[in-house]
């Protein structure tokens, strides 16, 4: 496909690479919203160009560095990327887990990130386990003025909540969706009492059904090695990917009635409603359900 005409998707910031991986002089040839792009560092400054048909550099677009990643836009965003003040706190480690390609809609990827009730089945023995499968009531809302989705008071028993966890614990989660393709969770830190660890995904929608997912952790954990932390995150994400690439239809249906929902899906139903109100179409299901999925 060619560059999308979805102005909601275009007028937003998306992470398209890790700063450390795009060292000065190196380029990342990648794709964003159906457009081939070139991302590079010019000294300390990130730059992004549309790639011409011959591979040459075309129109330049805005680029900036936040949270260890290069954020770019093909449009004119009304607001900057999300604010995460935790990145200024002492004692935290930023662990960037790299980009993982997933053949799925960015919206299905974000929705799965918000979902708790799959833990016992997809992340068995790590983030959940039968018979403790119940999802208790939690709160979810759109917070203004930032127009972000927040889900709070999400509690779930977990056999191994984090790389640093020893034994099971009831973890409390808070979820935050700051833009259609960017989401972060705040989770009970198993090491520092009263603290929250952050885990987030910056989804780079390459095409309607293909994404590069940039995952990071911002945690209090001096004991685990960098490798152990990345392995933990990758194990979880590979399990999610096996689901995400097998959901049909590929696009996320935004209208109620296409897929059945229960109370535990409150935050995902709010996410779908929020996307519909924005008028986002990239990565949504548009067709006749039976034509693709019958």
């Amino acid at each position: 496909m060619t560059k999308t005409t979805d102005i909601v998707a275009l007028n937003d910031w998306q992470a398209v690479g890790n700063v450390d991986e795009i060292m000065s002089g190196k380029r990342r040839n990648t794709r964003l919203l159906g457009q081939d792009i070139i991302v590079e560092m010019d000294g300390e400054h990130p730059r992004m160009f549309e790639a011409n048909a011959d591979g040459g550099m075309g129109t330049e677009h805005p680029a900036q560095i936040r949270y260890g990643h290069i954020w770019v836009t093909l449009g004119t965003p009304a607001k900057p990327p999300l604010d995460m003040p935790e990145f200024k706190e002492d004692g935290r480690r930023l662990v960037s887990c790299g980009a993982v390609t997933v053949r799925a809609s960015a919206l299905r990827i974000v929705e799965n990130f918000l979902d708790i009730s799959h833990f016992p089945y997809v992340h068995t023995g790590i983030l959940g386990e039968e018979p403790i499968t119940e999802v208790t009531d939690y709160k979810f809302e759109v917070r203004q003025p930032d127009d972000e989705i927040w889900a709070t008071d999400c509690n779930f028993f977990q056999p191994q909540a984090a790389a640093s966890a020893e034994g099971g614990q009831v973890s409390e989660y808070k979820y935050r969706v700051s833009s259609p393709f960017v989401t972060v969770l705040y989770k009970t830190c198993p090491v520092v009492e009263g603290a929250w660890d952050l885990v987030g995904i910056f989804v780079q929608p390459c095409d309607e059904g293909v994404c590069d997912v940039h995952t990071f952790m911002l945690v209090f954990d001096d004991a685990s090695s960098y490798t152990d932390l990345v392995h933990f995150q990758h194990e979880i994400f590979m399990q999610d990917r096996s689901i995400l690439e097998n959901q049909r239809p590929t696009g996320l249906p935004l209208s109620p009635g296409h897929e059945s929902a229960i109370k535990a899906d409150g935050s995902s139903m709010l996410y779908r409603r929020w996307l519909r109100q924005k008028g986002l179409t990239f990565g949504t299901f548009q067709g006749d359900e039976d034509s693709e999925a019958a």
Partner: protein, 251 residues
């Protein structure tokens, strides 16, 4: 798929190849289905899509007489109705939480299904006093090409004292080809049109064997099947000049 029709029963595998607790994907006329056998031995053919978040049910697991979705563990009873939702253990799922199902039947050692509404039951193969399911084989060719080759094929009878000298073929039902040797022994070939470029062939033999001879028969027929696949995929029998449609895009 010129010879394929929506309202036709097609074999999708041997009954003996689907054990209780098995869950397998089915591709028929470019649509996806899932076939599974419950703990009581009954087989079910459903749409390959969970009603909750669209997850392919082929990755699910059988829990007694229910199929569980791999994503959230929703349990579906044999009639397709959702019976249990682990996230809300005390909730009774509403009646409209139901996976769509397709007709399924087992006859002549095969599992049959359809994506339409056939007028009658699956093909009647009761004319054969012995019918042994031998194996299924996937062939990377259009169903029409496979059928054309099957109609013209020959085979070495398992039970004949001397090799057969002549062969005849007939279509007792759409998608079913009987190739008969003058010795009286026949191969029954059930064609499953998966897509424009993929065909599954389910192979039965009428050789009068039982007990310990069945595995020997299966090996004998398997050797024929591998050679047949090679001949079809390489167009060795040049009588057929069907043009392959372009490869379907990955979906």
């Amino acid at each position: 798929m010129e010879n394929a029709s929506k309202d036709t029963w097609y074999a999708i595998g041997g009954s003996s190849s689907l054990y209780p607790g098995d869950v397998q994907p089915v591709h028929l006329l470019r649509v996806e289905r899932v076939v599974w056998r419950d703990g009581t031995g009954k087989s079910h053919v459903w749409h390959n899509r969970c009603i909750h978040r669209g997850m392919r049910l082929q990755y699910g697991f059988v829990d007694g007489d229910r199929l569980a979705c791999r994503y959230h563990g929703w349990r579906f009873a044999g009639d397709g109705k959702c019976a249990y939702i682990p996230a809300h253990p005390d909730m009774t799922p509403p009646d409209d939480f139901c996976v769509s199902s397709s007709p399924a039947a087992e006859a002549a050692g095969l599992i049959w299904t359809t994506i339409g509404s056939p007028a009658g039951p699956p093909p009647d193969l009761s004319e054969f006093s012995t019918l042994t399911f031998c194996r299924s084989i996937a062939i990377n060719c259009a169903p029409a090409v496979v059928e054309a080759h099957a109609t013209a094929t020959q085979f070495a009878p398992f039970a004949a004292a001397t090799p057969a000298t002549s062969f005849s073929s007939r279509h007792p039902a759409p998608g079913v080809i009987v190739v008969e040797a003058d010795s009286g022994e026949a191969l029954v070939l059930a064609v499953q049109p998966a897509s424009n470029v993929k065909t599954h062939l389910h192979i039965l033999s009428t050789a009068p064997v039982a007990g310990a001879d069945i595995p020997v028969l299966r090996r004998h027929v398997s050797a024929w099947a591998r050679q047949f696949r090679w001949r079809v995929e390489n167009r060795v029998d040049q009588a057929h000049t069907e043009t392959e449609t372009a490869r379907e895009p990955r979906r």
